[in-house]
Symmetry: C2
Subunit: 317 residues, 2 copies
């Protein structure tokens, strides 16, 4: 039994933000991400390989705030956070404030596999990736016109004192994946550029085990999106697992409680993709939209950005 | 009802490591730390102020691996991690890989109070502290002969392939404090230099909510010490709270399970200081020694490094 779920960030995602062809392409990239992860699982590969493959596709897409087209910090540069966790043995790897790793999730994976650290920050993360043979790029590789405009818009609103009116889509967004493989292993991965105009050196929840990413066999795998500061304070991803392990809650009960009660009590935008040991995927969010998708245990692939779920087709297991 | 507990790092702490006068002085510094925190609580101050005050004393002491006399990374420099959490509203602040903040816990406190981030890394953490008027020093301020020798010893053993023989005391150590104030608020703080010869850019559990530090009113406050990589993977500090909230465990049951079962299953050195909503302090550890101490709700001050508990006296509430 195999299954995979992904998210591409939550927010208000105003429909007028893009043309119809762009919405179609963004959803097509979600489907590509799912197909990449599913292909790994379908050939007997690991959940860990599957979530890495799925996240890489979204990191390379211009529609999501991770890798290429990542958000820009207040200095107009990209600082990238990512992590990955293996539910089989609780191995974990994360990078924060990386500036030159084309696919930050690959560096996180290398840390998970090779250590000796589980979390590396700043230039040391870039240097580690280089030693591992992972592709480095110039920081400007990540820059797209969309993010340049979003940063300029946010800076203008900040200067005008109307920052509270900034759309959630301009402020944050993240990508993530969770998967169950044929051997019953769960894994989760998350990658993000943070949010436009974020303080230099700001670390969010995405590279932190238990905050933005968590996986434990027999329980769940979780990846979050939303205002990372609150995910950190709420230890949001591990809280899902703890509610299941210690309070006997189902995946749906636990993720709904964390997203719609704990996180929502702070009046922030928040969403999660989560999977349980039976391959059930749940994607709660409290914003108007969240890029998301899944391939269920029957092979049915679906993607969504707002309320409507688009059933793309059925993949072979 | 007020109470406070601290730790100054766990490890093998070989008795031959120092002379008797030095052991006495190290324990005296633990008592000074407790008195500083207690003084805040006794005059009706907050748990947050108390744990900050207690940690500052240990950061300034040459006997503990935080602030002055912090461990050195593989490049022979100091990169400091610290955090603080308010159990009343789950506010949190943390800095990682800071290089110039004399008392990193003060910068963490400023982040908790003023945001906008909860976690800042690298030079940005130093810059933030400067803007807040917190004292900066040159990186070499933190260097002591003890840590220079420890680093040289570890590098020699690493070169000789006998790194596994390095004492726990050379490898890591951290300081932390937990407190209950008269209004029932819990708080926790942690500060560390990591471990000697750590990779440049390595971030441990100390600056991470739920890993090395956690506080929640009505439940517990926790600060950890030990191999941070495993504390991160185990979400150790929040796991204590989750066991109490969701599984109905007592503080003693929860901390014993996390230290002696979860963390010990990875064959690492680990310890914690934790306090519950009634002011009971528990300090489990799986190593030969752990610097620790507490002032209980009756005002009784005790400190310890190994098995023997030294009852110092009684403080006025």
């Amino acid at each position: 039994m195999i299954a995979i779920g992904i998210h591409g960030g939550c927010g208000t995602l105003p429909v007028e933000m893009m043309g119809a062809a762009q919405w179609d392409e963004a959803r097509a990239h979600l489907a590509d991400s799912l197909r990449a992860g599913w292909a790994v699982l379908a050939r007997g590969g690991s959940a860990l390989d599957a979530v890495e493959a799925a996240v890489v596709v979204m990191e390379d897409s211009p529609y999501f705030n991770a890798g290429f087209s990542a958000a820009m910090n207040a200095a107009g540069e990209h600082e990238l956070d990512a992590s990955i966790m293996d539910g089989a043995d609780l191995r974990f790897g994360g990078v924060c404030a990386a500036r030159r790793i084309r696919n930050p999730v690959r560096a996180a994976r290398a840390l998970l596999e090779n250590g000796p650290s589980v979390l590396l920050t700043g230039p040391a993360a870039d240097d580690y990736a280089a030693v591992c043979g992972i592709e480095l790029v110039e920081n400007r590789h990540f820059t797209t016109e969309r993010q340049v405009q979003a940063l300029a818009s946010l800076k203008a609103r900040a200067a005008a004192g109307t920052i509270a009116m900034a759309g959630e889509a301009e402020k944050h967004g993240t990508v993530g994946a969770v998967a169950l493989d044929a051997e019953g292993n769960l894994a989760a991965a998350t990658s993000t550029g943070g949010f436009n105009n974020k303080p230099v050196g700001r670390v969010g929840d995405s590279p932190i085990a238990g905050a933005g990413t968590y996986a434990r066999n027999g329980v769940c795998a979780v990846s979050g999106t939303g205002q990372g500061e609150v995910f950190i304070r709420r230890v949001a991803a591990y809280d899902v697992a703890a509610r299941m392990m210690y309070a006997g809650q189902s995946l749906e009960q636990a993720t709904d409680a964390v997203v719609h009660e704990s996180l929502s009590s702070h009046a922030i935008g928040a969403g999660m993709v989560a999977i349980d040991a039976r391959g059930c995927v749940h994607t709660p969010f409290n914003t108007i939209g969240m890029y998301r998708g899944w391939v269920d245990t029957e092979g049915n692939l679906a993607v969504a950005s707002h309320e409507d779920i688009i059933r793309v087709g059925r993949l072979q297991a």
